[in-house]
Subunit: 381 residues, 3 copies
């Protein structure tokens, strides 16, 4: 027949003939069993672990969220050190609003009527002096409270210290005013989340909850796990801390909202899980500036136009609302990848067992090697 025809036939063969390897069957139960068992293991792995436990067939996305908080409650302080005072939200939430956290003032050192002037430093090894020679004008010790004027003044009948230019009188960190009632403040946390990749939106105020319930409910892991109103004391105790302890020195407390969800239709509801953890450490060992505090001032102007301020060293608990989570939804690519990988093992099992495969009883190995014809010419026959 013509050359071209032959060539075409050749191509057809190559393109559409189906090839299957000539296989050889060894009737060895041992080998066969090992082989099937390994297959079984791989299948188990795929079904059990990859699919059920790890959900490796899903595509994932991380949460985007927004939080608003509203604290309610008031306190009354009446210590020997400070005049009686009533506190409401506008007084103890500083700053009045922020996006993912809120600070509740629980304890403070108030230094009223500060003006820009000169006054002797607080006594300390580095500030005490005998006469002006010990004080260097313009020197400012980072541990001090102001810029030295070069004079040595009487701090008290007993102690003489260098005079500094500063806001005077200086803060004396002894007279504390504690807001004991703060533990009974409640906070309403409104949190809405989005999984952009899946265009999935959700709020922590669940659709089935009605307004009347929201007005009176209070979060409790057992009875009201989905009420968005939390009592501060309860949050702190859930984190394994004591509120009054924490209130004195202050601290940072995390309100973690876990929105990890399985968005496949068969997975059911996607609900927030609340947990609470103290985020700063309270251990005395290797701790610098324990707790949490900061200073702020209220500025006033006297009739004569002189500016005075009330300095407040505010101790308190900062509640950080940390929203996290990953959502998963079935996606073809990871499925293929994981299945494929597992299958490649499956096929490997079959092919490699006789070559680099698992050890078998010598007999059967023997069987197999028998099949290998070490002299290629033989096969040519």
């Amino acid at each position: 027949m013509s050359k071209s025809a032959g060539c075409c036939k050749r191509f057809l063969h190559y393109a559409f003939d189906y090839e299957t390897p000539k296989t050889l069957v060894i009737p060895s139960l041992g080998v066969g069993f090992v082989f099937r068992f390994t297959q079984f293991l791989v299948v188990m792995y795929v079904v059990g672990y990859v699919c059920v436990v790890q959900k490796a067939y899903q595509d994932t996305d991380t949460v985007i969220s927004t939080v608003t908080t509203k604290v309610k409650g008031f306190a009354f302080t009446n210590t020997s050190d400070t005049e009686p005072r009533f506190w409401d939200v506008a007084d103890y939430i500083i700053p009045p609003q922020s996006d993912h956290s809120f600070f509740v003032l629980t304890n403070m050192v108030v230094t009223p009527k500060q003006v820009q002037s000169h006054c002797p430093e607080l006594p300390s090894p580095s500030t005490t002096c005998v006469d002006d020679c010990n004080c260097v004008e313009g020197r400012s010790d980072p541990r001090g409270n102001g810029i030295q004027t070069g004079l040595c003044e009487n701090y008290s009948t007993t102690a003489r210290t260098c005079e500094v230019l500063s806001w005077c009188p200086l803060e004396i960190d002894t007279k504390h005013a504690l807001l004991v009632a703060a533990e009974n403040f409640t906070v309403l946390i409104k949190n809405s989340i989005t999984y952009p990749k899946f265009n999935f939106h959700r709020r922590n105020i669940l659709p089935h909850v009605n307004s009347s319930y929201l007005k009176r409910c209070e979060f409790s892991r057992l009875t009201d796990p989905h009420c968005p109103i939390f009592r501060l004391k309860h949050i702190v105790s859930e984190a394994g801390e004591d509120f009054q302890d924490m209130a004195v020195k202050g601290g940072v407390l995390g309100i973690l909202i876990d929105w990890s969800c399985d968005l496949d239709w068969w997975a059911g509801e996607c609900l927030p899980k609340y947990s609470f953890r103290r985020l700063d450490n309270k251990h005395p060992v290797n701790n610098v500036a324990p707790g949490y505090n900061f200073r702020f001032a209220k500025y006033y102007k006297a009739a004569d136009g002189e500016e005075t301020r009330t300095l407040i060293k505010a101790y308190g608990i900062r509640f950080d609302v940390i929203v996290f989570g990953t959502a998963g939804r079935f996606s073809i690519v990871p499925t293929i990848v994981n299945l494929g990988a597992a299958l490649s093992f499956l096929s490997l099992v079959r092919r490699e067992m006789c070559q680099w495969g698992p050890p078998m009883e010598p007999s059967s190995r023997n069987n197999i090697f028998l099949q290998r014809n070490w002299n290629p010419h033989e096969t040519r026959r």
Copy 2:
């Protein structure tokens, strides 16, 4: 020949002989076609879906970003309730700066000249009284405004309520002052992002944009999609809301900046995509404390040193700038993984078709089984 030589020869064979399975060709168009077609599908999947759609060959990183905002504009309020007042940025942005969001005051209830004293509670079922017996000294109702003194006072000519220790006069939530002009405020949003894994930095002010344009431009999806200056009214309407509606009760509005990018050289520019969504919900059903508001106070000191404050219940819109996105860049590992997985299918197709594979016309199956020599001894021959 010597034993060692034979052994060595054996090893050489084992190490460097190339093995290829003895294959058997079935000239069945049907089977061949099914086989090739399946191959085709797998290849299509790899090329089309994995590579083009899912970009599964890329390594990814999530964005790190920083945002600064600058609001411009002023308003004038002149309602019957409040004296005329001019508002500029320093008045209506609270707090004056924060990192990923800014709050614009749009409506408020002002309670001036509050001092720490006693005054009768606002009338409500729980606060009205006939005589002092109805009021318990020291009792503080979380829904109330202060700590009861135990006295029953005339709130008005008609109503008597328990007296409380609080900031007096109490806030009466009726006299609102609306900043109607707020809708015309503009905000400049500066956003710089980083993909640390790829050491990729970018700003939302694009290099090709010149200063003169930035001075006069205003964001518009169609005409100016890359202008970083937004008119508040426009943002709100893009989110499908009405500004004046939202201004009354307040709310949270998300300015989402999507920096999802394909950083492969052939992918071209990496540009921010802006979108706007209302993040809190405005549905009346099951909603507690709708909108967004908070209280803050300005503190003053009278000549006699008595502290007075002006309490402001601030309604307004908090704009959260949410920056998100994942960048992808070609990486060898995911490529191998995905290719490998797909290929394992490819090879599977070939090997398994005759065993657990897709059904074929009996004839060809028959063909194949014919080749299987069920009696191993036979092959030994």
Copy 3:
């Protein structure tokens, strides 16, 4: 024997016989070498790249973190424009506390004694006028400072401008007060992180560090890489900027803390890595509102009850503490996936080399084709 028995035998065979393909050995060093070498490459890839470089055998999680900062230091300003003034933390940190960033005031324009009244606009092409006809009552130019009253007033002996309703006197952006000493302020950054998936918690104050060290240490990449106290000047210079330059116009500086960790037991300690980058851009080209500044006001009430304010245009550096990182820990799924994928290549190499495989010297290819029996009937024999 009975039909059922035969059938059963058949099944047993099918279930437990072990099949191995009849292979054919070609004693060609060339082909063998190419084959083994390719295998070698794949193994190298798996071991070297996937496992060592990419750690593709690990499951990963992203960090959740909390940050508190405490700035220390004071400054003294005494310029010709402003009266001498002493500054401490309560004065220059605005707002007094926030969660992931802190702002340090470095430069300002102070406009004291502003009251709500009328005053002529600042001269500019759009505000200058000849007589009242040039001024439209109620017109408010966004670039202006207030709402026009319709009058044309003398701004100075030379210039006449439209009168506006605003906080008067208007701010004149010339008299700056620079806090030169700000560069010597120090900040203590406390950062605790969590990898929820691995339940792993860590602080940037390392366990082995003792308090006395923390009291005196200062961060330095070489000598004190784990001291959490940073000198502002040092941070800025590490970011490649000059503090005094930056202080004038302000800016945003990122303190990046990288917590990327390998949590496998053999990987050793998980430590924070600090780096510093300027996040806003300082290039003059296409830059609108360079640097970083905002306006805020302190409100006072005069004896007669009139409200006055001191407007402060605050320039300064906002330090954003950006915590990021991914932790990896050995996990079976990614391991299987990556191994599987690589192995599928491995097996591919063996099977495909003779078919679509890499080119070989014709001789051996020839060898192989010889084995292919193009006439199926032949095999049937």
